[in-house]
Each structure stands twice: as structure tokens, then as C-alpha cells.
């Protein structure tokens, strides 16, 4: 147990070792991930901050390779790995859904040295959700508002202070540095238990789409008639892919400036019409309905067939921010009805 002030001084001490980031009011009317200085506490309203934490694991742009573009140099146009420059980072105020997204993204990125390097070096301090908001549905995707998947430390905010428990060895070692911590008393333990038990049921109509979707025939889901009407309102703005913690598609481009070049990776969106365009002009997903259908089929059918869980953590960002109110929960229900 740590009283609030002690938690803050522990964070302040850690800021000597880590660059600390957490959700904070960004002066533009939303709460988003920003640098926290001097032991600042994160702003934690119920639900999730605007953006996900994927930016800390595959940032954009990410320099994959560098090269010299000066023809006279001996190693001109030879691609090389860049030098490591990031300080170790600590994210405080991570919701269980966002932490779980890191574990899910780790599956396709298993062989990716850039992602895995950050996975090893970024510390995740989670804050359990004692209540959700109307767009939360983590329990539908195999998650939980008090889940610890992907976290190094988990914090329960109580009246008396912050109850911190370590999830990984890395977390435990860091927690040992909080010198003023004390053991929680019985009533505090009870308060934590109460949150653990009541939080999941506070979410609307929890259901388990994953196993049922796995059993359904792929082409039957693909050919379902509801896709056309669903995609009619989509404007392919890409907001869903941008904010989604488990959307991980990217583009790779080479850039040169003043004799120096780099090959960079940055987020791309399957919602954009040119995503699948061939040099010949042929475009397999040139029609909007194909793009919209592909995104949901990937998240709810193709990814689980390959890796197991749905490629969705139920954070609700897409539901909250889609300008035309397309709701992935509705898509799940439609698919389950096939």
C-alpha cells in the first residue's frame, strides 16, 4: 500500500531511470498519453485515454534502416541498422485492455526485433478499472477490467491510497524501490477483492464471441448480406485503425534528405483505398465494402484462426470515435447470428 504522496515520490524517483508517460489532459479537450514529470499522477477518468499505447511499441515513424545517399562514399546506398537512441520508458495508468493489446500484438510481431526490443524495455504500470463506460466491452474479447495480462505492476485506487501488486519480476524489482510502502490491512484487501469481483459484471451483456466465431464457416461469414449495408455509411476515414490498440498494419517507405537516407515504417490503414493497389493498377479491395468487411473479418475471424484470441480488446475507442457510428459490437452480433 502506498499513500498517494508516496506513490508520487516513488514515480519521481523512477523518473531518474525512465522516461515516464501517462494519460493527461492535453489542453485540446482530451486525455492522451504524455510525458509525466516530477511524480505527476496520470488523469484517470473511467475508460481509456484517447490514444492507445501502441505508439510506444511500434512508433511512427520507426527508422528500420539507414543509408548514405552520397554516391562518392564507399558504403553509399548500403542499408544498415540504426543505433538505439531511446531511453527506457515507463507507462503509468495503463488500463487492462491496453496492456492486453501489447500481448496480442506480440503474436504477429514475434520475429520483429524492433517491437520485441521495446517489449523488453518498456515497463507497464496498470490501473484496474473499478467502473467502465458505455463503450467498454473488454469481457467480450477475453479480457477483464482487473486483468493483468501484459502488465508489470497493477494498481488499485482506494480511498486510503494506492494498492500496488507486482505481476512480473521486472515489476517486483521496481516496487522494492518504493521504500515507504507498507503491507495492506484487512479492510484494504477487502476493498480490492470487492473491485475484483464486481468490476467485470458492471459491463453490459458479457458474451463470448471468440469460440463461437471460430466454429463458423469462413466463407459463410464473408458472404453474409449485412456487410453491404454496414459499409454504406463508412467513409474510410481510418479513425478506427488509427486509435485501435490492435490494428498493426504498416507501410514502409524510403526517404532521403541532404545525403542521408532512412527506411521508415509507419502506420497504414486497410481502410484507405490505395492500401492494396498494385503497380499495374489492379486493386483487389478497390470497393469499399471489401475493405470494411476485410477489417472486421481480420479482427474477428482471420487473426483468431491463426493466433487464438480476437484481434480486439474491447476498449471501445472505435465505437466512441467513429464519425458514422459503426459499432464492432454490432458486427460481432451479426456474425454470431450467421
Amino acid at each position: 500500500m502506498l499513500p498517494k504522496a508516496d506513490f508520487q515520490s516513488w514515480l519521481k524517483e523512477l523518473s531518474g531511470q525512465f522516461d515516464i508517460f501517462g494519460p493527461k489532459e492535453n489542453g485540446k479537450g482530451s486525455v492522451d498519453w504524455q510525458r509525466l514529470e516530477g511524480g505527476e499522477l496520470p488523469d484517470l477518468a473511467p475508460g481509456v485515454p484517447k490514444g492507445s499505447i501502441k505508439t510506444f511499441f511500434f512508433p511512427q515513424p520507426e527508422t528500420l534502416l539507414e543509408f548514405s545517399a552520397r554516391p562518392k562514399q564507399e558504403d553509399a546506398f548500403r542499408l544498415k541498422e540504426p543505433k538505439e537512441t531511446d531511453n527506457p520508458r515507463l507507462l503509468v495508468g495503463v488500463r487492462p485492455c491496453d496492456a492486453r493489446s501489447v500481448v496480442l500484438n506480440s503474436m504477429p510481431y514475434e520475429q520483429d526485433p524492433y517491437f520485441q526490443r521495446r517489449r523488453q524495455s518498456v515497463v507497464l504500470v496498470g490501473f484496474a478499472c473499478s467502473q467502465g463506460c458505455s463503450t467498454c466491452f473488454c469481457t467480450w474479447t477475453g479480457g477483464s477490467p482487473v486483468g493483468t495480462e501484459g502488465l508489470d505492476l497493477m494498481v488499485f485506487v482506494l480511498e486510503e491510497g494506492l494498492y500496488v501488486e507486482s505481476v512480473t519480476e521486472k515489476g517486483e524489482r521496481l516496487l522494492e524501490g518504493a521504500s515507504t510502502q507498507r503491507q495492506p490491512n484487512d479492510s484494504e484487501l477487502q476493498a480490492v477483492q470487492k473491485i475484483r469481483q464486481s468490476a467485470p459484471s458492471g459491463l453490459p451483456e458479457a458474451m463470448e464471441p471468440a469460440p463461437r466465431l471460430k466454429e463458423k464457416d469462413l466463407m459463410a461469414l464473408y458472404n453474409a448480406p449485412f456487410w453491404q449495408e454496414l459499409s454504406d455509411s463508412c467513409i474510410n476515414c481510418g479513425t478506427c485503425t488509427f486509435l485501435c490498440p490492435t490494428c498493426y498494419c504498416f507501410d514502409i517507405q524510403d526517404e532521403t534528405l541532404k545525403g542521408k537516407g532512412r527506411r521508415i515504417r509507419y502506420w497504414d490503414s486497410c481502410m484507405f483505398p490505395l492500401f492494396t493497389l498494385h503497380a499495374s493498377g489492379h486493386n483487389p479491395r478497390g470497393e469499399k465494402v471489401k475493405r470494411v468487411r476485410n477489417r472486421f473479418m481480420h479482427k474477428l475471424k482471420y487473426f483468431p484462426e491463426r493466433f487464438g484470441p480476437l484481434s480486439c480488446v474491447g476498449c471501445g475507442r472505435c465505437v466512441r470515435d467513429c464519425p458514422v457510428n459503426i459499432d464492432i459490437r454490432q458486427v460481432m452480433k451479426e456474425l454470431l447470428a450467421i
Binding site: 514502409i252 492494396t276 483487389p284 479491395r285 482471420y302
Partner: protein, 277 residues
Amino acid sequence: MNPYLPYPARIDDIVVETEDGNLKTFRLVLENEEERSRWNHVPGQFAMLSIAGKGEIPIGIASSPTEKGHLLFTVNRAGVVTTALHKMNVGDPIGVRGPLGNGFPVDTELRGKNIVIIAGGFAFTTLRATLIYMLENRKDYGKITVVYGARTPGMLLYKDELKAWQERDDLDVHITVDREAPGWTGLVGFVPTIAGQVKPSPENGAALICGPPIMIKFTMPPLEEVGWTDDQVYLSLENRMKCGLGVCGHCNVGPVYVCKDGPVFTRAQVQKLPVEF
């Protein structure tokens, strides 16, 4: 091990294959001796050719793994990177990432079979790799039949090698062009038509078909007529690629990634996929 880091290589030779100049075969040599001797690929696999400052392109490996010391890539000039590549000279630096993809099952399912290779236009590249591999391991395969066609005689690839193959008695080669052309004394007719005339027997057969979708569409009926089934037919799909590793999301056809689970699929597998390629 960084799968995004290409092996440094140099262009060793450039051959203009077609009369319009749009297809060139590049012979590349990997610079590091260790990487050069360690390289091994399966016919049908591809590699990402990397031009620093321009980007990468997925190109089928046209040389067989038995052709040691160098790699051949026949590249069509189509977009930004291929145009830059076509402007390059012998001695210029280039990167190679690979081998990628699954290749034809030359050492497993295709062993002992009667092989029918059907190709149109410049889709013949990885089938050259396959054919040479099979000729180097001739006793591992049964009858080998080749039907290869292009729009005009000038658009045929590997013209010298085609002549040599036609003279072998352990190969049944049919080269065709779409229309009559001055000086051409060979077959005339679209590839599907010639395939229909050759009528290769499906008995213990495997057909490797590469070409534009329309060619494949019209080649299937004459084969089906003589009894070929979908699991005997192997296709090589193409799609827009970026990472080549099954991660970036550009090349997926439904649940499969053409770069990682393919590019070779049986027709039976393709029939179960959404038509998004």
C-alpha cells in the same frame, strides 16, 4: 537476426529479355561470402529487392538453387522501384531480402509426378527456376511437359534456353505466340488453346500454372475436361507486398498472407479463399 535487413549485393549482369525493353533479367551476386554460400531457396520462392532511397519490390527468383553463386531476377518495369532498377548498371549496389514465401513442393508432393508447366507472358520466371531444378534432378520426376506462350516472339523470355529445351528428348516443350508473326515457325495460339491441344494426362500428374488470371481461367476447362482435379493444380498468386513476412497486412487474401503462406497455393486452396487478389 533482423528480417528487415537486406543482404548487400551487386548487379553482375543485365540482359534485356523482351523486344519492348520492359523486361530485364538481373544477375545479382551477394557480397558477403558467408551469406552467398549459406543462401538456399526452393523454386517458387521470391525475394525482396531493395534499392536504398526508392524502396523494395517482391520478385520471384528465376534461378534454380542449383545455379550457385548468383541469383537471377526477371523484372518488369511497372512502378517507382522497378523503373529505378531498370536505370541501374552493372556494378551498382542492391539489397536482397530472402528467400521468402513457400515455393513449389519440389522435394515433397511433386516428387515422382508427371509435371506439366503452363505459363503465359512473364509469369514464366519462377517456373524457369523450377524447370532447371527438375532437370538437374531429372530422375526424381516423371514426364515433364512445358506449354509457354507470349503475345509475340519478341516477348518470350529466356529465348536461348527455350531453344535448348526444345532440343532435349527428356522434355516435351510447346512454345506458342498469340498471333502469326514474321519469321515465326512455331505454334500459334493462346496458351489455353495449346494446353487444350496437348491434352496432358492427369494420371499421377501435377500442373504448375503461372500467368495472368484470365489465362488461368481459360486454361482450367481444357484440363478439367481430361480429368485434372483442383488439388493437382498449383498456382502462384501475386499481391501488393511491403514486409514480405506476413505482418504488414497488405497482401492478405482472406486468412492467408500471399508472402508467407504462399505465393504457391493449390487451386483447391484458392477456391476456398475470397477473391481478393
